[in-house]
């Protein structure tokens, strides 16, 4: 058996080989209570360097906890000129015109190298049924812009409808702040039925879940993320470095799958 010291060294070396690209990173003050309430951009970059995460897609907490219009603007200012950070906007459906005209907003977003979006239907109180969100979802599908959505921000039936109604839209499910073990009986049939559904791995802490998803649905369906600075990046890093699958599959999860989705955006 390896000693604990040897395991620490191996974990550190294995991380370096995989060039981790984090899909779920945040800047700004969080509503999550924490013993280490990090929020500043330089603090996040410092942590990324420490944990061996080379690049990240980031959102701003103002976009989620205050208003997307303000948070997205702040995000661009914060990450301007920082190569290892790429923005992820938070959007609303266009009917209320809070974000201006959707086409213009998305064109502007893409021109600023933002290649992914999040929506928070429950926190922001809107419906993702077609009567409310078809225009938004249709536009994202048209441009193949990856859509990140939290499991607790929607219903499983609605998630199924989005994936089915917009089959060319890459939908990435994230599972922050919840007991994810409870999701498996929803998640597995959804992954089975919806080929455009991906799973971000930061909270895949149900025993053997990550290995089972790779075995049944392929490593192509998993996207590396950490939910830094709310959750401990070590957890998702080791789920990949010590996953029960091949090095090629680990590379896909660590960075290649996300790179492929971003490259697939029609600018």
């Amino acid at each position: 058996m390896e000693s604990i010291d040897e395991m620490i060294r191996r974990f550190s070396n294995d991380k370096k080989k995989l060039h981790f690209f984090d899909a779920n990173c945040w800047i700004g003050k969080s509503n999550n209570l924490s013993s280490v309430p990090l929020s500043k951009t330089n603090e996040i970059i410092e942590q990324m360097d420490y944990y061996g995460i080379e690049r990240a897609i980031v959102s701003h907490t103002l976009s989620m906890y205050y208003h997307p219009l303000v948070g997205n603007k702040y995000l661009l200012e914060e990450i301007n000129g920082i190569n290892k950070l790429q923005g992820c906007f938070v959007l609303l459906p266009p009917s209320t015109k809070e974000m201006g005209l959707l086409d213009e907003y998305i064109d502007n977003m893409l021109s600023r190298e933002v290649r992914a979006v999040r929506i928070f239907p429950k926190s922001h109180h809107f419906s993702i049924e077609d009567w409310s969100s078809a225009v938004l979802l249709g536009k994202l599908e048209e441009r193949r812009i990856p859509l990140f959505i939290w499991s607790r921000e929607t219903e499983w039936d609605n998630l199924y409808k989005i994936c089915k109604n917009y089959p060319r839209l890459p939908v990435i499910l994230e599972q922050p702040d919840e007991e994810t073990a409870l999701n498996g009986r929803f998640l597995f049939p959804l992954l089975e039925k919806c080929k455009n559904l991906f799973l971000e791995v930061h909270n895949c802490i149900l025993y053997l879940e990550i290995d089972e998803v790779v075995k049944r649905f392929g490593a192509e369906r998993l996207i590396f993320g950490t939910y830094l600075p709310v959750d401990d990046p070590n957890a998702s890093l080791m789920l990949v470095t010590d996953g029960d699958f091949s090095q090629i599959e680990k590379e896909k999860i660590a960075h290649k799958n996300l790179e492929k989705l971003i490259k697939g955006v029609l600018v």
Binding site: E2, V36, L206, D232, M238
Partner: protein, 273 residues
């Protein structure tokens, strides 16, 4: 560190056997469990069976735990289960199984058994644990409203708040109690830290469904590495997720050795078996 202690093999102090009613578990087989233990260099694992926690079937749980211990001796160890809804029967059953080599402690789950951990129906357990120097692993969790959507409150967790363990420790200061999950979430962690600081024989473990940033370093700073145990919550949660939080923590190698190995080995007397 005591240089005479040479066995710093990893001990998982909090794991389970069996199914959960509420969710899908990809593989609960003992073979897979031992396979992943081998891969992660986990030498010993201490398990309680879920049939005695999510349901009241402690007799079945004890029988199945014994089977696992016999199938993988010196690798799989067992907790007997005390159920306050059946105090006499469950204590009697626990006593019988604790005479068998491989049973190392008692597990209680006040939230699932819906009875407060400081309630009088637990008194026979605490008396037995003190008299026989048997460690007790108790589920603990935060029972306050959460600060993010949907502001979840799990009512049953009110029975398992760390501050209630503090009341038990005050009455039974010699009882060796491990507060599972170190209180679960932030406000529970605050309570757990206060209790572990105040009472010499109260420990925490780090497993569960939360993987908060900086928690390991915070616990080490507040209560010291010699009061923290590694646990995975397997077959519920991932051993890799929790192991990595210690391996990659910003603490010393000595502190990691205590958390991953020495504290549990001392508590369960593994080095003397």
């Amino acid at each position: 560190m005591n240089k005479e202690i040479i066995d710093v093999s990893i001990v998982d102090a909090h794991a389970h056997l069996g199914y959960s009613t509420k969710f899908y578990m990809p593989d609960i087989s003992l073979e897979r469990m031992v396979n992943i233990m081998n891969k992660l260099n986990i030498k010993r694992i201490c398990c309680s069976h879920l049939a005695g926690l999510s349901a009241h079937h402690f007799e079945y749980a004890h029988r199945e735990t014994l089977k696992a211990i016999k199938q993988y001796p010196r690798r799989i160890f067992g907790y007997a289960i005390y159920d306050p809804n059946f105090p006499e029967d469950s204590l009697q059953s626990a006593k019988e199984y604790l005479t068998i080599d491989g049973f190392i402690g008692i597990k209680i789950h006040p939230a699932m058994h819906t009875y407060a951990v400081d309630g009088e129906k637990y008194n026979p357990l605490w008396r037995y644990a003190v008299d026989n120097n048997v460690p007790v692993l108790s589920h603990t969790w935060d029972a306050t409203l959460q600060t993010t959507y949907p502001y979840e409150l799990v009512p049953n967790q009110i029975y398992a708040q760390p501050k209630l363990i503090g009341r038990v420790a005050q009455r039974y200061p010699e009882a060796k109690i491990i507060m599972a999950h170190a209180g679960g979430r932030y406000r529970g962690h605050l309570q757990a830290i206060e209790v572990a600081q105040r009472y010499e024989n109260v420990y925490v473990d780090i497993c569960g469904s939360t993987i908060s940033f900086g928690l390991i370093e915070w616990l080490v700073k507040e209560i010291g590495a010699n009061k923290i145990l590694y646990g995975s919550d397997l077959t519920w949660n991932e051993p890799r997720a929790h192991l990595s939080r210690v391996l990659g923590a910003k603490i010393t190698l000595d502190e990691k050795n205590y958390i991953l190995s020495l504290n549990a080995s001392n508590l369960f007397k593994f080095n003397f078996q």
